[in-house]
């Protein structure tokens, strides 16, 4: 008796501990995600530890990240385009040090570096100097660069996170890219999935049903990188030929592939919902003279509708979070998506492709974590909505 009690207590505590542990782990991951990302809002859109300085006669005191990029790319060549004097812009960075000064001038341990930089900046009126802050003396005129805000990330349309000296962190094309590819996927997968589910639940015989279910389970078991490989070699050239477009790596290719990947989820959940329609309801419909098809569309589907909706929403969530397959077939260009026949870049592909080399704790690293929080918020709300519809079905 006591032994049984002890065993019961033991099992109970194991269940309790693992539950607590899992909850804590999930909470930890969420807190970590937001903590790593939030550091970015204390920073300016300049490479870490760097500052911009100009000649003391230059009236310009403020530049936006876009303007800095424009200067580097040669879009702005004169300060009068940037609210300044009529004087051409001249960029001065660490890589120009060696061509302007000899090693003797700098000293064996670079001890004269600060002084030389200051002299150079004060001697050239059009200079825009970009240096680690400690090499710029406090007497120099510094340029203010705006702090990064959530709005600037969400609204920005340029994603050049490694641009030097001012990274461009506009995530709008990437977020829209993700939404577009997932929506496309669900538009393809939902009708197909529901039709297959109806067939399985209402029409197919026992043997046929079992063999189709096996195939669908197989579909769910294929790793997404294999889907991606298939997409790259088969689907991409196919899309390119059918639509006669310059490139086959498009949002459409991604959508088709994601539709394939989310089909098993949609089919099995919809089938559950459809088979749970009570036999009495269907019998009543048949007794009133409706044929089988009328019964399916008039009685069974409306009954199962909330279940089908929650299945499709979960399917969207699955598609939105999928990484490898989209990375391989969507082309990954961070442009504002306009049609399904152009390359897009998704949130997941961006994180997967860039996190590996982004220096830990840097602006690029934190920007990727911000993208991660977007992803988390989206899938979390999608799951909440699906849960809401599932609840409705049960009540």
């Amino acid at each position: 008796m006591t032994f049984k009690k002890i065993r019961e207590k033991f099992v109970e505590s194991i269940i309790y501990i693992s539950g607590t542990f899992t909850t804590l782990a999930v909470l930890f991951i969420i807190v970590f995600l937001f903590k790593e990302g939030s550091g970015i809002f204390q920073k300016t859109a300049l490479e870490e530890g760097y500052s911009l300085a100009v000649n003391k006669f230059n009236p310009v005191t403020k530049l936006s990240p876009e303007e800095i990029k424009g200067i580097i790319e040669g879009e702005y060549t004169n300060w009068n385009q940037l609210r300044g004097n009529n004087d051409s812009v001249y960029i001065f960075t660490l890589s120009d040090i060696e061509s302007n000064f000899t090693e003797e001038e700098l000293g064996a341990e670079f001890e004269h570096l600060n002084q030389k930089i200051s002299e150079y900046i004060e001697a050239n009126t059009g200079v825009l100097a970009f240096f680690p802050s400690k090499y710029l003396d406090s007497t120099l005129t510094k340029i203010n660069v705006d702090k990064i805000t959530l709005a600037s990330i969400i609204k920005g349309r340029d994603w050049y996170p490694t641009a030097n000296p001012a990274p461009q962190l506009g995530a709008l094309p990437i977020v829209l890219g993700s939404i577009m590819v997932s929506l496309g996927a669900i538009l393809i997968a939902l009708p197909l999935g529901v039709i297959v589910a109806i067939f399985l639940a209402e029409i197919a015989g026992e043997t046929l049903k079992n063999s189709i279910k096996t195939v669908i389970e197989l579909l769910a078991g294929i790793p997404s990188v294999v889907y991606g490989f298939f997409g790259l070699v088969v689907l991409v050239p196919f899309v390119q030929q059918i639509f006669d477009i310059p490139v086959g790596e498009t949002a459409l290719s991604g959508s088709i592939l994601l539709a394939l990947i989310s089909l098993p989820t949609i089919i099995s959940l919809s089938e559950d919902a459809i088979s749970s329609a009570p036999q009495e309801l269907k019998n009543a419909s048949l007794a009133l003279g409706a044929n089988r098809l009328q019964t399916i569309f008039g009685v069974t589907l409306p009954y199962a509708s909330s279940g089908i909706i929650s299945a499709s929403i979960l399917g969207i969530g699955r598609a939105f979070g999928e990484t490898m397959a989209v990375l391989m077939v969507t082309g990954n260009s961070a442009i504002m998506p306009k049609t399904f026949l152009e390359p897009v870049r998704t949130i997941t592909a961006t994180i997967a492709a860039e996190l590996g080399e982004a220096p830990t704790g840097g602006i690029h690293y934190e920007a990727l974590f911000i993208l991660g929080t977007f992803l988390f918020i989206f899938t979390f709300s999608v799951n909440l909505i699906a849960e809401f519809f599932a609840q409705k079905r049960h009540s």
Binding site: I72, P161, P246, V247
Partner: protein, 272 residues
């Protein structure tokens, strides 16, 4: 008896840990396949343990700075900012080029274009020119393929071909070199760039001119070897002078006839 065995095994362990401290090499992914081949060949002849990992040139240099590796591989020269950091730490470095690498600009074999100037390439890769007819080809949209921004090859292209400008937003980016070769072979209007070792007959490598179109040089092994081909870069190894004693025998091996033969074998350009 048992005590003795224990004692012996401890002695053995101490002996091995004293002798077999492996030499750690880290850095450029471009150089990784070459270095793997070199250390394999070297370890066959010498009772020394070496291990090599990739991660990118910047990662290798940072690890060297932190002292967690003995040798760093880099496919670019040290940046001024990095030099200053080594200076701050009081580490004196030895920087040696062990081989060269050439970048080929590739197009689809059906594309009649055979040559481009550097200025034309800059305009194509930055998105200023979007149709092949503007550089003397067919009326066909240009599709730019590029590596992801983490790649050293991407940085090299930006610095040496594109005057440090950014790639066009419409460029299709791929995280693997082989994927660029494959896509270029499939897409008629494609243009991409890969290391000379990756060029295959399914794509066409074009000649480039760095003097405004007077002389076009083809990216062949010989042109890269005698340095007439302009888009070449040295591949460096770096080590702190204080570790010279441990790493010198291996470094010397890299410069032997056999070590340089392995360079050619992997598709890179040997020093001489």
């Amino acid at each position: 008896m048992k005590k003795q065995i224990l004692l012996y095994s401890f002695a053995l362990l101490a002996f091995f840990s004293a002798v077999a401290q492996p030499i750690k090499i880290k850095g450029s992914d471009t150089m990784l396949p070459l270095m793997q081949l070199e250390i394999e060949a070297y370890m066959k002849r010498n009772p020394v343990q070496l291990n090599v990992t990739g991660g990118g040139s910047g990662v290798g240099i940072t690890s060297l700075l932190e002292g967690s590796v003995d040798i760093a591989m880099s496919s670019r020269e040290l940046k001024m900012a990095e030099k200053l950091k080594f200076e701050e730490k009081g580490l004196k470095l030895s920087v040696l080029a062990i081989a060269n690498d050439a970048l080929s600009v590739i197009v689809n074999p059906q594309n009649p274009i055979k040559q481009l100037t550097r200025e034309q390439m800059e305009d194509i890769f930055t998105g200023k020119i979007t149709n092949w007819k503007d550089v003397g080809g067919d009326d066909m949209k240009i599709v730019v393929y590029t590596r992801e921004s983490s790649s050293g090859t991407y940085e090299f292209m930006k610095d040496h071909v594109m005057s440090k400008k950014e790639f066009t937003k419409t460029a299709i980016s791929s995280s693997a070199t082989a994927a660029i070769v494959y896509a270029t072979s499939q897409t008629k209007g494609a243009i991409g760039y890969v290391g000379i070792a990756y060029v295959e007959p399914i794509v066409k490598a074009i000649s480039v001119s760095y003097d405004g179109g007077q002389k076009y040089i083809a990216p062949t092994f010989n042109n890269a070897f005698n340095k007439t081909y302009p888009i070449t870069r040295p591949l460096f190894i770096l080590y702190p002078l204080e570790k010279e004693k441990t790493v010198k025998p291996f470094i010397d091996f890299l410069f032997t006839v056999y070590g340089q033969k392995l360079v050619t074998h992997k598709g890179y350009i040997p020093l001489k």
